[in-house]
Subunit: 446 residues, 2 copies
């Protein structure tokens, strides 16, 4: 039986069919010249004032391994759409292009390339769909996570609890990675621990409590199984009573050397309950037991609780993080900007593009998008990460990306670190040379 | 180098860590008794008045292959959280439970099980996260697609164009499957054609047109590569001029026996442009060339164009279908309803559950949720699809699911086939026996 998973052997078919039909027509037309495509967003979604670049390393792994193997080629042949010489061309194809991109964890704004691919035209075209999916999704999640990190502030942390509500299994894995780049301290997804080396975190569900006749029995069993590491879920029946039971179990097990790491509240008025639960634990002599909160949280609810001084040590954020619920897609596009050394652009209504191979320079208080050959002031963001289909440097540790995001967000003007999205955006200018090129091509096309 | 894909060998780690910590505590407590969990939603999201069940077959494949294999077990051991005898228990574990569910394509309402799992408690617990993810995502997408199918009506069709905006690669694959169950005629995702046998569809992008000096050259090359099957994208520069060019190319190539299947409009005022483009094609003697529309479409925009009589033959729907953008998550939960033959429920604020193993009976104008042993009027929806970890019947063709959805939607009262969500919902009652059980347990718990 056929598997139902994406893998290295079939990932080249994670593509809109039209990439393949276009490649076939390019092949038939002898259009093998070098082309450059930019991947970017035209505007920032929802109240966002910046994006956090993410997904590059998975994109590079995809490009390194890109090929049309046996069963995928057989499938394409079975469609009876493609000429045999084109299928042979696909069978021999490896990605041989150049990739330039900002590092993961870097702050990026609208119209700035999240990725720039220069390769023989059919190759560059065939990888479009996957690259949009990969970079777009992880950038969306890292950007959402960065907002949540702003909300929690430096004294509290949050954990990705999203796997059950993410869109499929790969989304759960990639959301965990992107959430950590964006600021999550850990993820609940075990596979993200195994494949990406992320910190994993997990406690118990209501079903565990419900299995025992008495809540106290559930807590005792769990604490004995994980001495020193148990976080007890206290809202299955009554949250405040649950806190008293947890405190009693902590007292009862202390002589055995067992400590309770924390309690979790997952329903009700989290702000009010966090205070009463904290008081119950303290009054029972357990200031060491932390309070965790989860349940329908997002950056706004967390910011409200933090501003109110709620005694919550860490937050579990699931659905609204893993689906970027207030803005569940990023309008990433992948546009031809140069073909055979000739800068190009399109004029479709509302969708005009900036032509040519680009660089972005970050200044103290603005960015400039210019042409790759220009020498402008500021720090250039796009780096050559793949040359001739081979990585230009080893993969970065995810911790490096996390630190880059933290430093980048901290360096933003205060107004961009609020969550309302009503503030003056970061200025992104177009260099005089790029503006002149755009105007010349616009005139020619019209 | 480690792969970054979910596969049969690591899918058991597509789980919140807490499922494994709970299983470890159950194991330590000797809690191996049979338990039943129901997977359902508490309410319907957004303006939805019904859901379309989907994802069951992928869930059954997961359960059939469920195991903790080498590298996954090594990873869990490396966490230094789990006792060796528990890891041995995991190594030997296969899913041996029973699964009851409505068939894919069936209409389902709030509080009705989308899946019911009966298995030894640790097994039933360990599969929670994956089942929620799998059933929740596909049901969300099939339900969104069914709304789009209502909007297009029987005389027009739509195609899933979502892969680039779906949340990761697995989401693209599963969204395509669920979209077809919900009513899409085809998908643009090539891999969904290969792995699920779905109809695939694809045309060209703006980059193809931009590569050639003249739009007409691009159209000629494409039509010669795909004689009889080319759909030409006409909005790269100017849509109406593009329509004239397409018509001229159709006339020019006709003597070679080449026909143009259609033109696609992807930007601008689709309603207005569809009329002018249709007129241009007709005036040029090409009534056989179809008009396709795409770009930021959803059920509401399509319904508006259909109501206005716009001459669009088929729609491409991407982002808003594949992310279910107006309601990008489904609040699926997986709740313990019976343990060791004893019905259970929880009382958490706003999250109370119905206890016991259930059946749902569909009547002419209402549903009844009752206990599995009851004999009530109507058609029972939950069927035994897995027994002892083995499928009770072969997998259904996706076409059967699609037909079931179409018949189910057609049989709904007219008021539920509107898209506004303001109408009286379908009545879902609780049987007297189930209500009595719920009331008795509530009293006992309080």
């Amino acid at each position: 039986m056929t598997g139902r998973w994406v893998d290295d052997d079939n990932a080249s078919l994670v593509t809109d069919l039209y990439e393949i039909t276009m490649a076939a027509a390019f092949h038939a037309a002898g259009a093998f010249e070098t082309a450059t495509f930019d991947l970017f967003v035209r505007s920032l979604p929802g109240p966002r004032r910046f994006l956090i670049a993410a997904g590059l390393d998975d994109a590079l792994v995809f490009l390194e391994r890109f090929r049309f193997a046996g069963a995928s080629l057989d499938y394409l042949a079975s469609l009876a759409m493609f000429a045999p010489d084109f299928l042979e061309y696909l069978a021999a194809m490896r990605f041989q292009g150049e990739v330039r991109a900002p590092a993961e964890g870097e702050i990026v704004f609208a119209n700035e390339p999240l990725l720039s691919v220069t390769a023989p035209l059919p190759q560059a075209q065939l990888v479009e769909t996957f690259l949009l999916n990969c970079i777009g999704f992880q950038t969306m999640i890292a950007s959402k996570a960065a907002r949540i990190a702003i909300a929690t502030g430096p004294d509290r942390s949050f954990v990705d609890f999203s796997p059950r509500r993410d869109h499929g299994a790969d989304a759960a894995l990639k959301a965990a990675r992107a959430a950590v780049i964006g600021g999550a301290a850990a993820t609940s997804l075990a596979l993200a621990g195994r494949l990406y080396g992320l910190e994993v975190s997990g406690t118990m569900a209501h079903s565990f409590v419900m299995r025992f006749e008495e809540e106290a029995d559930a807590f005792r069993h769990f604490a004995r199984t994980f001495p020193g590491d148990a976080v007890l879920l206290i809202d299955t029946y009554d949250t405040e009573e649950g806190a008293r039971v947890a405190a009693a179990v902590a007292t009862e097990l202390a002589p055995e050397g067992i400590t309770i790491r924390g309690v979790r509240i997952d329903s009700g008025d989290l702000a009010r309950l966090s205070r009463s639960v904290r008081r119950i634990l303290d009054d029972a002599g357990h200031p060491e037991v932390a309070v965790f909160a989860s349940g329908d949280l997002d950056e706004h609810r967390i910011a409200g609780m933090v501003a109110a001084g709620c005694p919550v040590d860490a937050f579990g954020v699931g659905t609204r993080l893993g689906t970027s619920a207030d803005a569940p897609y990023l309008g990433v596009v992948y546009k031809l900007v140069e073909a055979a050394g000739r800068p190009v652009m399109k004029l479709s209504s509302g969708k005009a593009t900036l032509p040519g191979r680009k660089q972005v320079w970050r200044g103290e208080d603005h960015d400039v998008i210019g042409l790759a050959g220009e020498d402008l002031a500021g720090r250039p963001l796009l780096d050559e990460v793949m040359v001739g289909g081979t990585r230009a440097r080893p993969a970065e540790p995810i911790g490096t990306m996390t630190a880059r995001r933290a430093a980048g967000v901290a360096a933003l003007p205060e107004r961009l670190r609020t969550l309302t999205g009503t503030e003056e955006p970061w200025p992104v200018r177009v260099s005089p040379d790029l503006a002149a090129l755009r105007d010349r091509l616009t005139t020619e096309l019209e």
